[in-house]
C-alpha cells in the first residue's frame, strides 16, 4: 500500500515576504494570537528551523511535539524574542515582533509567561521571592499587595497547604512543587500567553498527570493562550486543543487532536504508534 504524501492538515496562508503592501497577518486576529511564517534559524552550519509556518490559537492549549534536537525549544525562544531569526516573520497580536528593538521587546515579553523545563527558579530566593519577582521588577506595589497575589496563586495551584512553603528555597521542593512554583511565577503578572518548555520531563506518571491537569486548569481559569513544547504523546492528547509537529525544521502537522490522529505523516504515525495511543496502521485511539 502506497503512503499518501505527507502534508500539514491545515493549509498555510500565502507567505507575506515579497508581497507588496502590508501583510494580511499584520492585524489582530480574533482566532490566532501568534502567527509564524517562513522562520529560519541556523547555528553555525546547523540549519535548525527551515521555514516554520505556525498558527497559535488564542485562549487554547497549543502543543508543539517533535523528537529531541528538532528545534522545539529554539522555536519557543523565538516566540518570546529570546532568539532572533535569520529569516521569517512572527506576528503577535498583529505586531511583527522580529523588527522590535530592545524596549519594544521588553513590552512584548510582558504578554508572556514562561515555565521552564526544570522551572529555572532562582536559587538565591525563597518561594515567595521567586513568585513575586516579576511584580517587584515591574511595579511599585506594597508588600501586602504582593503577598496577597502570591498567596492567591499558591492557593489556586494547591501549594498553600504545603507546610512552610513560603520560606522554602528551590532545593527543598519536589519536582512537581518546583513546576508549580515556576508556573505561579509565570502567572503572577497575568500574562496573555504562557509558554511551557517540556513541563513533564523528569516527572513520575502521577506528577505528570497533575502537571497536565494544572496546565489544563490554568488555561481554563486564567483564559491564557498556552503553548506547550512536549514529546509526551499521552500528555499531548490529554490536554491539547491544537497539535503541531516539528520535524526536520518544519511544521509537518498542524491541527486538532482528531486531525493529528488521522494524519498519515510517517513521523507523526511513528510517534503516535510507539506511544501506544493507536495500534500500528490504525486510525482511531487504542
Amino acid at each position: 500500500m502506497s503512503q499518501p504524501p505527507a502534508s500539514p492538515t491545515t493549509v498555510a496562508e500565502p507567505t507575506a515576504p515579497g508581497q507588496p503592501g502590508p501583510s494580511p497577518l499584520a492585524v489582530r486576529d480574533e482566532r490566532w494570537q501568534i502567527r509564524v511564517r517562513g522562520l529560519h534559524k541556523s547555528f553555525g552550519v546547523q540549519h535548525v528551523l527551515r521555514g516554520i509556518d505556525l498558527d497559535i490559537e488564542r485562549g487554547r492549549t497549543n502543543i508543539i511535539i517533535g523528537g529531541s534536537g528538532q528545534g522545539k525549544s529554539v522555536l519557543m525562544k523565538h516566540l518570546m524574542g529570546l532568539l532572533r531569526p535569520d529569516a521569517g516573520q512572527i506576528w503577535v497580536d498583529g505586531e511583527d515582533v522580529v523588527a522590535f528593538d530592545d524596549r519594544e521587546m521588553g513590552r512584548l515579553r510582558r504578554k508572556f509567561g514562561m515555565v521552564f523545563q526544570y522551572a529555572a527558579l532562582f536559587d538565591s530566593m525563597n518561594v515567595v521571592e521567586n513568585i513575586a519577582f516579576p511584580l517587584i521588577e515591574r511595579y511599585k506595589l506594597s508588600r501586602d499587595e504582593i503577598m496577597e497575589r502570591v498567596r492567591d496563586l499558591l492557593r489556586k495551584l494547591d501549594l498553600a497547604d504545603v507546610a512552610g512553603i513560603e520560606q522554602k528555597v528551590p532545593p527543598e521542593l519536589s519536582g512537581g512543587q518546583r513546576k508549580r512554583v515556576g508556573l505561579a511565577r509565570a502567572l503572577i503578572d497575568r500574562p496573555e500567553i504562557l509558554l511551557y518548555d517540556e513541563p513533564t520531563t523528569g516527572l513520575d506518571p502521577v506528577a505528570t498527570k497533575n502537571v497536565d491537569e494544572m496546565i489544563r486548569r490554568t488555561s481554563d481559569e486564567f483564559g491564557v493562550t498556552s503553548v506547550v513544547i512536549s514529546h509526551d504523546m499521552a500528555s499531548t492528547f490529554r490536554i491539547g486543543d491544537r497539535i503541531s509537529m516539528l520535524y526536520n525544521g518544519t511544521i509537518v502537522v498542524n491541527g486538532t487532536p482528531e486531525e493529528a490522529l488521522a494524519s498519515r505523516h510517517p513521523a507523526l504515525r511513528e510517534f503516535v504508534e510507539t506511544s501506544g495511543l493507536v495500534a500500528p496502521e490504525a486510525n482511531g485511539p487504542a
Partner: protein, 282 residues
C-alpha cells in the same frame, strides 16, 4: 583577452610566498584570539557600566556582593596579610642585617606592602575565593536557565548580575587592600620586635619617615583596577558557560587563571603608569 587567459596569466604565488603567508596566518591566530578575548571582556565591562545609567540601581544586590566579596574574604585576606608581613620582615631583616641596617625594616615592609604586596596578594586571594564563586554561581544560573528566566521578565541580566559584582569588587578591593596593609604591618611588627629584637622606636620611626600617603594611593588605585579585571574575568567566564556541570567547573578554573594572570600583567603596566605619573614613588 578572455577571462580564462587573464586568469592564466595572473601571477601565482611562489612557494616561499605561500609559506610566508602560512607563517603569518599562524602568528596572527593567537594575536586574533588575544584581541577577541580582550574585546569580549571590554564589551562586558562596557555593558556593565551602561547598567549604572538606568533604574533600578539594585542597591541590595550591590550590598550583597560587597558582603560576599569583602566581608566573606576578610579572614583569608587577614591571614595571608599577617604572614606576608611577617615573611617580608624576615626577608628584609636578613638582607638588611648584612649592612647592619635592620632598623629600616619598618620602612621596607611598609612600602612593599603598600605598593605591591597588599594589592596583588589581596587581588589573588579575592580572585581565588570570590572570583571563583562568581563564575560558579553565574555558570550554574546559565545552565539551569535562570539567566534566560531573567530575560523573560524583561530584566537585563548584565545589569542585574554583572553590574553589582563589578562595582562591588572595584570598591571593596581598596578597602581589603588596606586591611591587608594593617594586618601585614602587625605581622611584620610582631616578628621584628618580638622575634628579631628590632628596636621598637626605630621600626616605627623609619616606617613613618619613609612611607607616605602616595604609597597607599598607588596601592589602592591598583587594587581598584584589579577589582575590575578579576570581576569582569569571573563574570565573563560564568555568563558564557554552555553545557553542563563540567563546563561550569572549567569556567571556574578559567576565571581564576584569567583573573590571576590579568592582575599580574596589569600590575606591570600600572607600575609603569605610576612611575610616569609620580616619578620616584613607584
Amino acid at each position: 583577452m578572455s577571462e580564462a587567459d587573464s586568469a592564466d596569466s595572473a601571477p601565482n604565488p611562489s612557494a616561499v610566498e605561500r609559506r610566508m603567508r602560512g607563517v603569518l596566518d599562524l602568528l596572527a591566530l593567537p594575536l586574533r584570539a588575544l584581541f577577541s578575548y580582550f574585546g569580549d571582556h571590554a564589551l562586558m565591562l562596557g555593558q556593565a557600566l551602561r547598567g549604572l545609567g538606568y533604574r533600578p540601581f539594585r542597591l541590595r544586590l550591590f550590598l550583597e556582593q560587597m558582603n560576599f566579596i569583602g566581608v566573606g574574604s576578610l579572614w583569608i585576606v587577614g591571614l595571608v596579610g599577617f604572614f606576608s608581613g611577617a615573611v617580608s620582615a624576615q626577608q628584609a631583616i636578613t638582607a638588611l642585617r648584612m649592612f647592619q641596617q635592620e632598623r629600616f625594616v619598618g620602612a621596607t615592609v611598609g612600602i612593599s606592602l603598600a605598593q605591591e604586596l597588599a594589592p596583588v596578594f589581596t587581588g589573588l586571594m579575592i580572585t581565588a575565593r570570590a572570583g571563583s564563586g562568581m563564575a560558579t554561581e553565574l555558570g550554574s544560573m546559565r545552565i539551569t536557565e535562570q539567566i534566560d528566566a531573567l530575560t523573560t521578565f524583561a530584566v537585563d541580566p548584565i545589569q542585574y548580575l554583572v553590574t553589582p559584582r563589578v562595582i562591588a569588587a572595584t570598591l571593596i578591593m581598596p578597602i581589603m587592600t588596606m586591611v591587608f596593609n594593617v594586618v601585614g604591618l602587625i605581622g611584620a611588627y610582631l616578628f621584628a620586635i618580638y622575634l628579631e629584637n628590632i628596636d621598637l622606636g626605630q621600626f616605627i620611626e623609619q616606617f613613618r619617615f619613609w612611607t607616605d600617603p602616595k604609597d597607599y594611593i598607588i596601592g589602592c588605585s591598583k587594587a581598584a583596577v584589579f577589582g575590575v579585571t578579576l570581576s569582569v574575568a569571573a563574570c565573563y567566564q560564568g555568563f558564557n558557560v554552555r553545557g553542563g556541570a563540567k563546563e561550569v567547573g572549567l569556567a571556574t578554573t578559567r576565571a581564576v587563571v584569567a583573573g590571576s594572570v590579568s592582575i599580574l600583567i596589569s600590575d606591570y603596566f600600572l607600575i609603569d603608569a605610576f612611575h610616569i605619573l609620580w616619578p620616584g614613588k613607584s
